[in-house]
Subunit: 213 residues, 3 copies
């Protein structure tokens, strides 16, 4: 998410916008559970920055982004707090937020792959690192809201992250020009996610009902 080279200014801007959007969606979830203002800001920060944080802790990749650059804390906490004032508007723009969330999923996945690549992780770990960066924040949000994580129950979310990571990681193997490949991956991942939302594609569920005796 934060490891993009400075030339990728567009992706940088997109990732900041996506961080803010994820914090704002989390703030709405906090509002549904009647959290107080502090809880809203916390949940915004943890949801938006949690994926990258878990990845860095698992890879032993210190210092964490937001420790080095507290601006990210201010951005996400501020976005969450602003949501309290403009909740109706945020809610009405829910389609826009789905798109922003999808952009975040793809951009964060790519950035997670980059970080793992930099610490010389193997290819499977590069992909897992992308997936953790893209998805784990939402899992933390659901745990803190006392839900079974949505990620585990529905939609092509983690799958989009895996496909994006796979596609992106082949670039490392093929040594293609970064820029072209980055744009291709972004377009592919985003389209996949948006189509999945539009046509309600879902992973098959595993339903097991028999009571243990």
């Amino acid at each position: 998410m934060w490891a993009l080279p400075p030339t990728d200014t567009v992706l940088q801007v997109l990732s900041l916008v996506a961080l803010a959007a994820q914090a704002m969606s989390a703030a709405l979830a906090a509002g549904r559970r009647r959290m107080d203002w502090v809880g809203v800001c916390f949940l915004g920060c943890i949801t938006a920055l949690g994926g990258g944080t878990i990845r860095d802790v698992l890879l032993g990749h210190y210092p964490l982004l937001w420790v080095e650059n507290p601006f990210y804390l201010a951005l996400t906490a501020g976005s969450a707090f602003a949501t309290i004032l403009i909740a109706r508007a945020v809610h009405r723009l829910s389609v826009a937020f789905l798109v922003l969330d999808a952009i975040g999923l793809v951009v964060f996945t790519m950035a997670g792959c980059d970080v793992a690549w930099q610490v010389n992780a193997s290819l499977p770990i590069v992909i897992v690192s992308g997936m953790i960066t893209g998805c784990a924040g939402g899992v933390l949000r659901d745990i803190l809201c006392n839900d079974v994580p949505l990620l585990f129950r529905s939609e092509l979310y983690a799958s989009v992250s895996v496909v994006t990571g796979l596609f992106y990681a082949t670039a490392f193997g093929l040594k293609l020009t970064d820029d072209v490949w980055t744009v291709l991956t972004f377009v592919l991942g985003l389209s996949f996610r948006l189509l999945a939302i539009r046509y309600k594609w879902e992973m098959p569920k595993f339903v097991f009902n028999e009571d243990r005796k």
Copy 2:
């Protein structure tokens, strides 16, 4: 919490007492959920030591206090276990425990600021580090008890920690004599928390009810 210099003997003692008190309060929460003896001891340890542990993992500050000095595990597990025997008494002393918990909040916040300061974190991270140290243990407790974290729902708890940290951190900037400032911060933070309890000050809540369509 544990980073206080040896001269601060009073604070050291207070922090040990507060650790024990937090473990004992957590043990009562475990009892309300009918946990077994092992669960009671675990919940006591995790609640009392969890904030400092999360802080150290996020800052990459190893070894963890309780790894280096397992006495802390014995103290908190022992206090939790003792609570099983004297639950009624602990319950009856709930006001005393609220005060001890408030002392812990302030002392742990200051110690968390100290640790971040030692690893040369920036000022916002010093304050966040204090807040994590003071508050995250209770969040872990609530997650393990399968509740929405109390911290996110009510009371001036995290806010007290932030104000304490802000006040304490200005000392680093101003290079005042440590001892005076430490005492001042302690008194301010504790008073703030106790007044918040006494007069039931609360953060405003963010309530958002409209169902997502």
Copy 3:
């Protein structure tokens, strides 16, 4: 779990089988909560590998096993996924899985002790490290399934881990031949756990009902 010396081939094989078995049991739990296929695989990985991961993060022992050797991810995710196809069979073999889980508990505890020993942790931490390795995966599973962790509520599970660790750790002190002691510990730990299951031994519970006023 993964730190066993190459001579312990039998234990190595047992630990792989136990990892797969824990992932498969977790997959059934996922099926009871109607998770999708991705959730099933995640829950399998997190349950089987989570204990060792938490231990390594707390001890600052990098790189994590599954980062270094992604085969473990493939093994546990694959086992969980296979469970979707053969859920009835897995369910019918529940006694076999209880035994495999017990083997895992003992083998992982011993491996956790080994890791802590290698990083020169003190004796109490060696035992705690074994317990975290053996038990924490199940706690993560229960948190993600939105349950109060089973570990905290019943059965001699953590206790078996502690006794196994204590017994195993005395070998470090006594400098006995490793092999003999390893086998002895394995037999003792496994017998203890199986007897506890067979005769429904339980930890006493701490029940505290009085409402806080």
